[in-house]
Symmetry: C2
Amino acid sequence: MVKRNQDMAKLQAGYLFPEINRRKKEFLEKNPDAKIISLGIGNTTKPVTPHIDKALSNAAAGLGTKKGYSGYGNEQGLTELREKIAFKIYNGTVSRDEIFVSDGAKPDIGRLQLLFGNDAVIAVQDPAYPVYIDSSVMYGKTENYNEKTNTFGSIVYLPCTPENNFFPDLSKIRKVDVIFFCSPNNPTGAVATREQLQQLVDYARKNKSIIIFDAAYSEYIQDSNIPKSIYEIDGAKEVAIEVNSFSKSVGFAGVRLGWTVVPNELKFDNGIQVRQDWDRVLTTLFNGASNISQKGALAALDNRGLKEMEETVSYYMENAKIIKATLQELGYEAYGGDNAPYIWARMKTTKSWEAFDQLLQEANIITTPGIGFGQSGEYFLRFSAFGHSEDIKEAIQRLKVHLK
Amino acid sequence: MVKRNQDMAKLQAGYLFPEINRRKKEFLEKNPDAKIISLGIGNTTKPVTPHIDKALSNAAAGLGTKKGYSGYGNEQGLTELREKIAFKIYNGTVSRDEIFVSDGAKPDIGRLQLLFGNDAVIAVQDPAYPVYIDSSVMYGKTENYNEKTNTFGSIVYLPCTPENNFFPDLSKIRKVDVIFFCSPNNPTGAVATREQLQQLVDYARKNKSIIIFDAAYSEYIQDSNIPKSIYEIDGAKEVAIEVNSFSKSVGFAGVRLGWTVVPNELKFDNGIQVRQDWDRVLTTLFNGASNISQKGALAALDNRGLKEMEETVSYYMENAKIIKATLQELGYEAYGGDNAPYIWARMKTTKSWEAFDQLLQEANIITTPGIGFGQSGEYFLRFSAFGHSEDIKEAIQRLKVHLK
């Protein structure tokens, strides 16, 4: 038969979240009456707010009428939506043509790999959302996995830990081609300051690198001094792509909608615009986001929608606040949670998967083991604030009993 | 700056359909009052039928309630939907676990490229849906484009023309690793018989190839002797992946929903199941199809939905019938249209783009130039039956005037 893609063979075990699901399922088979509370995967639980939901259901109903029906649209998204994102999210500092609507940040991160050749050197924060590394592996940009160091050859890991205030010392990093950078960070909940982001942009300008800035949690930033977009930084349009999503801000995790910004100024070494290739990737390998989802996003960006977005964010941020406070009261180092829906807690001397299993067995709480995000995540657990507030309150009570 | 992916640089001009749009736009700028009728891109125009549309709008409305809300689902799709596809489309001959729901056939074709290494030899029908070749190029599986032959080095082209009854002589084809095969065919409208498909499967078994069978138009098959799925052929589960879609059968082109079947029996040369890697591709680089779209698809597969699907197909097939009859009356060789929504007509001695431009300028009708689908498509135009029937009737009148 045909040979397997040898890059797929380099991947390690399963993708993190299916592995968590597997352990959960196994536990539930043995303990069918357990009432599990998930503080694990960042999966939204709050219903879509009324104004935005009305737009979704109107769009769906409209498809049954001659006037409301639409088939294929532009692969890049509705012009009206691109424009609204440019003005409502970016204040007009990026233009409509630089916005590309998609079915989400995760699929876009995969597709972005096509912009770069196999010899591109990739850097990632450590810990990081696993898709940055796994997509780099699948697209042939890495050497084999080294079981001793738990790293892939040729990937540059940038440790982001409490010790360096979750920001790497870029003066010590060799030249790389592509840097994945996420702020507010998944999993640590850390946010990069304006000064830090300026250092990042300056590094990229100096080293002729491209930053892929993952801003999927930008609406969770409460501190007005923290940039919500990389394009608030001078010079960023020449070096950065930004990925974003409606999943967490308005609960579209299942509805599927995101976008990517590729500025006109961003070019390859031969002078060709990166956005030209991105446009070709989308028109050839993507067929546009669902027309229903796009109509929902339009509503999310009008005045009532933006107000509802704030309500949704506040709801989850209230959860984040009490999770963090509880962990700290119990004597654990806990980070994030102030401008992000994740709390990153050091489990003292217990390793990640062990701490995960203990909380599952004893408190029936699902978390995410820090090691799943990279070597620097060992001894940490990520707590997600995306549960129902009543569940979070019960989880807090259980933590107080079991995490003493 | 960073180097461009050299595989992207190999691509020729724009993707076909954006180029058609560009010419249409240019024409409309000069002729703002022209009433253009599109027989071009296979874009559905008939509203979603009532029962299926009700399911879409109910699902959307339900997202506003605690009971009806859902965030991320399984990347592979709702279990209930996978099961329903297995039973309603495949009569239970494939199992639930072999069905992977997606946002459409086009994105799946791109992702399927990740299953094979860069040294995999790809074969395509000529003419063919451009995404098979373009995705192969982008994923590094081809040599440069040869401007003299209009072909990519290392791609094996299988001419499918009236002269060979649109089916290649497989006894003369060298061993290839992956064959893209589409029946009912886009663009020719040809359907492969059971005997022809058995030859295809036998070729793949003998040569240890994998068939990627594109069945996106299978519901348009009217002749009960023609297989709707490659899995109706003995031995196919060991050699074939099947891609399919709700776009054309129930008008979900904009709603976005498709699926891919990867049988348990299909293995790489090292014995590893192909479905294992496909599962990893989807869980890592995809986040599931929209929950709203999936609920619509569930309704499309219950008894009322299946009846509505037949109505939708009949509506477009009536268009196909009159387009084909008209072209034949006018003295053109016309193929397809009996079991497919496309009519493939030879424009006598006029080249494809010239014929396209003439029909645009004179009759204000958009078609698709055959050459856009490959070298064997020169002198042909593809006529799509996906218009409103009243527009098709008017188009017919115009053709009678301008295609004499």
